[in-house]
């Protein structure tokens, strides 16, 4: 059972249909499956519902699918950084369902773990709870949220073996591990492709069972959204006081 494919186009072959739901990992531009997004753009598939914490920026990441009007709806927690997004959204061309970030993460985790619904106190008494069941447990109110499950998830990992065992790097982990579990098919792009045995079993973040296909992505420039630095000699902010 070979999981590794030649490139992103081959990895997505047969998986894309108009109107489908796609989860895409990443937070901002950190840990986004950019090469797989490019292949989705090239495929021309339309009318997508995309579940992703953010919507990329103009010309980068999911921003590329917005430019081509391939996205009909986003399920996200924050979408601020994208002029094309704003234009389509304000023009009524693009629907958006806002989810609190933690609720979004948990809905995806639930979908992957066979949990159709759960209760959370996030959003009680706000617009988010409208039309949803609110129930009291131990004197506190909670809103019922539903699991999310997609037709396809695309994720980015730092390292992967050919069995599909994945390791993420630093804050590029974010939504990728849950999304890998919450779709009919998950396709991963990995920066370093290794053989089974090269990843310690204790260090695996996503077991291979969740990965149906994968590609090795040649090193491409990773974009930084907010480049913040300090000068040598400047006080350390946030502090290193531990």
């Amino acid at each position: 059972m070979k999981k590794v494919r030649k490139d992103a186009t081959e990895a997505l072959a047969g998986l894309l249909t108009d109107g489908m739901t796609v989860m895409a990992g990443g937070f901002g531009l950190c840990g986004i499956p950019d090469e797989l997004i490019d292949a989705i753009r090239a495929s021309g598939v339309k009318n997508l519902t995309v579940i992703s914490n953010n919507a990329g920026i103009d010309g980068v990441g999911l921003g590329k699918l917005l430019e081509t009007r391939q996205v009909a709806k986003m399920i996200s927690s924050y979408v601020g950084e994208n002029k094309e997004f704003a234009r389509q959204y304000l023009g009524g061309e693009l629907a958006i369902e806002f989810n609190p970030q933690g609720t979004l993460a948990e809905r995806i985790r639930a979908g992957g773990a066979g949990i159709p619904a759960f209760f959370t106190k996030t959003g009680v008494g706000t617009l988010i709870a409208e039309g949803k069941e609110v129930r009291e447990f131990e004197g506190e109110n909670y809103v019922m949220e539903r699991g999310l499950f997609a037709d396809l998830s695309i994720v980015h990992a730092w390292k992967g073996d050919t069995e599909g065992n994945l390791v993420y790097r630093k804050t590029a982990r974010n939504f990728n591990p849950m999304m890998a579990t919450a779709a009919k098919v998950t396709v991963a792009q990995v920066e370093h492709l290794v053989q089974p045995g090269e990843i310690d079993g204790d260090a695996v973040h996503t077991p291979g069972i969740f990965i149906k296909r994968m590609i090795h992505v040649a090193t491409r420039e990773k974009r930084i959204e907010q480049r913040t630095t300090r000068k040598r000699g400047e006080p350390a902010i946030p502090p290193a006081a531990v």
Binding site: T122, K170, N174
Partner: protein, 219 residues
Amino acid sequence: MAWTREQMAERAAKELRDGFYVNLGIGIPTLVSNYIPDGMSVQLQSENGMLGMGPFPFEGEEDPDLINAGKQTITELPTTSYFSSSDSFGMVRGGHINLSILGAMQVAQNGDLANWMIPGKMVKGMGGAMDLVAGVKRVVVVMEHVARNKDGSESPKLLSACDLPLTGTQVVDLVITDLGVFTIDKKGNGGMTLIELADGVTEDDIRAKTEGAFTTRLA
């Protein structure tokens, strides 16, 4: 006279305790990290999946895989751990973070908080704010006492009830503005209490700029 942004941050830092795990919002709350007392162990959580947030990197050492929830490049510390967004918000929702310090558009006298949406304007989303205010044990708001409108007028931000869409209901424990500090009995009926005045600010100054009801118990 009123507190500067730095003085507000310095006042907020007094809410820190040794061993605390803290989530800081963007803006003034980020500055709070400048005022952590020497020798106090405070670990900063970044809700995109990191505990033990370090300072900004030196120029040329930015790592695109290492950002905070404001998408800024940061660094790690010896204590740093990374985790997924679901584990991160499990930590938040489960009440494991001791303190959240964040900004607000409006706070009501019962602890309601609005900071994510202005009807009629482009809505960017709530990000992790709703989860943080609902889940973190203690929520401290740091904000200007009034909003300055385009026509030069001022609108109070400490209200009897928020008129903007809420981020959370009965969630705020403490409000630090440029004029003073208020406690809120968010789960009880004790209401809002003015407990400190900024240098040179009088209780009357504050009454004039506060729409919400409060009692006064200055230390």
